[in-house]
């Protein structure tokens, strides 16, 4: 459903992505792995229209979305849960969730709200609390919930386990797997290699702005190169 070819992007004169190829098929969890600063978030933000790529092609569900505006990309169902959550701190939990369907999924708002509160009962308990006063883990739930409110075709999760306690990280990966089993396609961007590969179908490894390795998750798990550089084995 997502097809990225030869993507180049950066910030001003600084090139970060230098010809990235990547694809996600419907129903998959695809992991995008890479060290800090590899360019993972840069890739996400170019997919979602926050920045415009300098060269390359991005197709999503058959449409060319390369360089399109953020609202149009939301329209076609490519939804990102960004690194650092980026919830609206001055709005209540409920308002944050409702804004998740500001552009897409508005018809299903009530139903999706029910569903999100079902997945995250914690959020329901805190529905009138300001998002800025939630704990890090709760904010991450809220960010994911907000993403789900848009009826995503593909959900990009940028380091959802960042800053969570080990127990919560465990829960987070379990949740991602369940969402996928319910039919959601997911691009999981992570530094947490082992746990990501454990739930992903396929994976890509981004290094210095290019895809250094890719393949089925199970195969990568046993790849000597990956073991050496990311798992210290």
């Amino acid at each position: 459903m997502l097809e990225v070819r030869g993507l180049h992007a950066g910030y001003g004169q600084v090139a970060v992505l230098r010809g990235v190829d990547l694809d996600v098929a419907k129903g998959e969890i695809v992991a995008l792995l890479g060290a800090n600063g590899a360019g993972k978030s840069t890739l996400n933000n170019n997919l979602c229209g926050i920045y415009g790529p300098t060269a390359g092609r991005i197709r999503f569900l058959g449409e060319d979305i390369c360089g399109a505006a953020t609202d149009r990309i939301v329209d076609v169902g490519l939804i990102q849960v960004p690194e650092g959550r980026r919830v609206f701190p001055n709005l209540s939990v409920q308002d944050n969730l409702e804004l998740g369907s500001y552009r897409r999924g508005r018809k299903n708002r009530a139903r999706n709200l029910e569903r999100v509160y079902g997945i995250f009962p914690r959020l329901k308990e805190r529905m009138n609390q300001l998002a800025g006063t939630l704990s890090g883990g709760e904010q991450q739930m809220l960010a994911i919930g907000r993403g789900l409110m848009a009826d995503p075709e593909l959900l990009i999760l940028d380091e959802p386990s960042l800053g969570l306690s080990p127990l919560l990280v465990e829960e987070m990966f379990g949740l991602i797997q369940r969402l996928n089993q319910d039919g959601l396609s997911i691009l999981l961007v992570e530094q947490n290699v082992v746990q990501s590969l454990a739930i992903a179908h396929r994976a890509f490894v981004l290094e210095h702005g290019v895809i250094a390795m890719s393949g089925p998750a199970a195969a990568l798990m046993n790849d000597p190169g990956l073991k050496a550089s990311y798992l210290g084995m």
Partner: protein
């Protein structure tokens, strides 16, 4: 000790003026809260609105209160266009540029008004201009009573808009978290312009409520905008309830100042309050710490 019979009318009068101040300040604080723009053109846009309402009355015989939807819509359109076509482009994301742009706009608008309409002070006559309402403790002119309740009503509607609609949520969301806003599909340029437009629409309403008991001249905006800035700082930059309370406080202060110090020094109290707030509570009554 002053008689209550003198004090109470002054307070009631102050409240009616204060509600108008609040309305003007609401527009200012909305624009500031979302775009972080201190809109120096606010006063000249109010002046434009007053002329608009004046001419609707003198040329077409439209009562200022009936002109309210027209004035609000027109000012909304002007504000939306200004932000989308001029301010947004000229600013390049730099606050000091925006400052100069809005300042420049106000100079242009005012001089245009001076050129077109001379510096004469104009007023309108309505059947109710000299009617009063008896509040027991004081007689208050009908236009002022309408202005008071009208301003409060509009403030309440604005609050509902901000609290209960997706537009309001989007405006508040964008004020604090631009990237998150983009990721839910909020069109940043559009919502910025909507905020500016709504802020200006407040001026259209204020003009309609004001004109029956006031006047219009090319410089009429100055007095209001200075007070509105004070209200915004007093209430806390970007705070809605703050602007409302601040407006009423300032209105009463001015009125009582006029009573004790004489009409011409009435505004002295306002600036005393302004300085005291800046010294002891720089974030304003209801403002958040940065």
């Amino acid at each position: 000790m002053l008689e209550l019979s003198i004090l109470l009318p002054a307070i009631l009068n102050g409240l009616t003026t204060g509600a108008i101040y609040a309305l003007i300040a609401l527009g200012l604080t909305l624009i500031y809260g979302v775009l972080h723009i201190i809109n120096f053109a606010h006063g000249s846009l109010l002046m434009l609105a007053l002329y608009g309402v004046f001419f609707l009355h003198s040329l077409f015989g439209i009562d200022p209160y009936l002109a309210l939807p027209i004035a609000a819509a027109a000012l909304f359109a002007v504000g939306y266009g200004l932000q989308r076509l001029i301010i947004g482009h000229a600013s390049h994301g730099k606050d000091e540029n925006i400052l100069l742009v809005t300042l420049g706009l106000s100079v242009i608008i005012e001089n245009l008004a001076l050129y077109l309409w001379r510096s004469d002070t104009r007023t309108i006559d309505t059947p109710y201009s000299f009617e009063v309402v008896d509040f027991g403790v004081a007689f208050i002119p009908v236009p002022k009573v309408i202005a008071f309740f009208g301003a409060l009503l509009v403030a309440a509607l604005l609050w509902l808009l901000m609290a209960r609609t997706d537009l309001g949520r989007a405006i508040r969301a964008l004020a604090k978290e631009r990237q998150g806003a983009k990721l839910v599909g909020i069109n940043v340029e559009h919502i910025f312009a909507m905020s500016f437009g709504i802020g200006c629409a407040c001026l259209g309403v204020a003009a309609c409520l004001l004109l029956p008991s006031f006047y219009v001249s090319p410089q009429v905006g100055h007095a209001f905008v200075l007070v509105a800035f004070t209200v915004v700082v007093l209430g806390g930059m970007g705070s809605f309830v703050g602007a409302l309370l601040g407006g009423l406080i300032i209105g009463v202060t001015e009125s009582l100042g006029g009573l004790f110090l004489g009409e011409s020094l009435g505004q002295l109290g306002i600036f005393l309050i302004f300085i005291i707030v800046l010294l002891f509570r720089p974030t304003g009554l209801l403002g958040q710490r940065a």
